[in-house]
Subunit: 492 residues, 2 copies
Amino acid sequence: MTRPEEPGRQHAGHMTPEEFREHGKRVVDWIADYLVDVEKCPVRSPARPGEVRSALPAHAPERGADFDAVLADMERIVLPGITHWQHPNFFAYFPANASGPAILGDLLSAGLGVQGMVWATSPACTELETVVVDWLAELLGLPGHFRTDGAGGGVIQDSASSAVLVALLAALHRVRKRTGSAPRPVRYTMYVSGQTHSSVERAGRICGVGTDNVRIVDVDPNTLAMDPRQLERLISADIAAGAVPVFVCATIGTTSTTAIDPVRAIGEICRSHDVWLHVDAAYAGVAAICPEMRWINDGVAEYADSYASNAHKWLLTNFDCGLLWVADRQPLIGALSALPEYLRNTASESGEVIDYRDWQVPLGRRFRALKLWSVIRWYGAEGLRAHIRAGIAMADEFAALVSADPNFEVLDPHHFGLVCFRPLWTETDPERADELTMRLMESLNDSGDMFLSHTKVRGRVVLRMAIGAPATGMSHVRAAWSRIRAVRSQFA
Amino acid sequence: MTRPEEPGRQHAGHMTPEEFREHGKRVVDWIADYLVDVEKCPVRSPARPGEVRSALPAHAPERGADFDAVLADMERIVLPGITHWQHPNFFAYFPANASGPAILGDLLSAGLGVQGMVWATSPACTELETVVVDWLAELLGLPGHFRTDGAGGGVIQDSASSAVLVALLAALHRVRKRTGSAPRPVRYTMYVSGQTHSSVERAGRICGVGTDNVRIVDVDPNTLAMDPRQLERLISADIAAGAVPVFVCATIGTTSTTAIDPVRAIGEICRSHDVWLHVDAAYAGVAAICPEMRWINDGVAEYADSYASNAHKWLLTNFDCGLLWVADRQPLIGALSALPEYLRNTASESGEVIDYRDWQVPLGRRFRALKLWSVIRWYGAEGLRAHIRAGIAMADEFAALVSADPNFEVLDPHHFGLVCFRPLWTETDPERADELTMRLMESLNDSGDMFLSHTKVRGRVVLRMAIGAPATGMSHVRAAWSRIRAVRSQFA
């Protein structure tokens, strides 16, 4: 079916709606087949550096080709270079959930092809977003002031990295408004722990706060949670030294181990020093859709200025769908608004509408609310809760299996879908034991049967088993555990 | 077909591949029908503020529903709130091209659901991106050092706003490396013209350079192009005052009128003061795919440190697909890299691969190269050139029609798909004449028959007719011109 690249072939150019109908259905079939067959693929791509690139032509084609040529190359060139995040045996990093309704919501967005930079450029793009982020705030038990009918509101960002950047910009705007005519230069400081996601330090670098002014607060060596007493000491010392503390990031569910910072205690300190509190719950926050998990957000309602969680990790919505809520939208809009003449319009000037352009770094925006709306409609709140509960239950069962084996140790606690654990070796040198652990992981990952990642806790390598892909069932988790034990016994 | 929300209904949860196949084909049909019927819709949504929101439930559904419920609400609630960017009579802002192959490439990306943050998390996601941005650099006639096999390379960003932000971060990194142990604080300055896109000033705000240090260089009152002599004077004055000039943004095709800054003359000044030159060709840059348009990039090869153009405006690839090329990738990576333990991997440490995470603000990334690849494959270079040429030809013909009418005046020159023009009124008061022009535009936009936007040039309101939607043909342009004349005659 490939259109030959013969000389003189007339290419009318645009794909007609009828051609789209035909090719589109073939792509839908291709994806459905992929989802059926993904379990047969090696989880981690075996491709070597440069392998995909060298299979592609060095120059763009001069003549167009039929879409079947793309599908053929998807099989031949692209798939061998894919690490299959939707594979049931993908346990690395955190899950990047996709789901049928999310994919179709995204397809509707691409089909409409609208640009939601301001309300007027497609009112539905803005208003559906407002509705779904308000829905989700309620489903997660977040405080009323995070809803758009309060002082704050929610917005879809591409990622938690961008969410923390705009939160920091809002915090800087607020403090600059407060200090007003302070003689330049002011040295701003911000506070993270050694377990905080690297994007927060990066946001500090981007905003000009500078790495030197990002303080690393100690963590409790057992829980890996930020030590609020040291936070207080660092803030006080910075104030005494003439700096202006501007931003604290507390994490609910750190990337490394899903540790939970004491938000309430941190929040009290932030409040007393008038410092912005951002809560990064990128992975774990969506778990609060289950009432029995709401305890993770203790202190958020009282103290958080902003709160981020990603629907694209564990809430069945394909990347990108990062959610950011702010308690007060004014500093965010103040930090980011710009209104050139060519975007002036009566709706924006009426003050009756939201222009989400002022809530993010880019100007343009896709209609991302469609995929989140599709997911919430398809699953309903009860379906979303069932997915989160299934992940937690499987993680609990996995942890019980590992704990029961004297050759392994589990890092407690594990509240979500991630279990950190490590094999115990007869090797007594910690570095060589860590090497064995890494070799075990590489052996599992090289096999293509499953894919794990690692981190370091208290200086030692620990393996991360992140359970939460929609395709993963307990049979996959048990099979993974058998493989892990088998490889350990080969190495011991 | 809507699943009733009856008590006790079992919702299995995930959409099965077979359900996806069924619903997916219905969505494809829905989009194909939409593309057939879009011309019947009012171009600009007639929705009033709050209208879409009030049609949606105040709370998320507890029970899931069939996907047909989403499609029914698309018709009933969403479509009336859509401003149809793919409508043949959409002439506002700049086009936001979608196309069949782009939508299907995006669908493939959503179906795979991979996360391309580092090479190892899906080698094909990185390597296909490298290939297509290299292809496009060649197609646009950009210099070899912008290709990945040179010192630089290209990367897909969400937008030109994010592209200019990371370019500015790279510039700041380069100057800080150069000045090294300079005693703090350094005051950095950057340079735009009054016609530069607002995102550049915003990037300065975000990075902490600060609005006060963003210099506005005068433009030539006739061409609206940046005056290089005044740029030289401002840079010299800032240096004399102890500031460190760090960044100049030259624009090829300004958002307001598609004016072209003199890149070569600006570049010589940047070179002599060791200032980073970013070229923002967000809309117009892709026109260089036609050899006869390459003149717009005069000076880019010799002087530009970075160059941005968006495939999602005029190159048939749906948002987001902003392209950024840099002449030297090291300052960009230096500014943005971060490597937490949980992302360490042998491929990254080998130095043999690209980790695009270090080329952008967010950590995560979608497989956006698939849609650009699909577009280039389907159209071929000749199909892409035909689309650009068709837009320019229609704009030329529209401008000739307007010029021939003594009741209108065209703003010359117009090199691309945008024609700026205004009606001439018997009203001699400029403000009241501008009000009439705005009323004419609002009347046209309110009709739903077409959608224009406006800007101000030399203090006067000017209408912007941006031609370039794939569905637009000369018959639409001629009909739009008839409507414009008819409404003017009603108002005169």
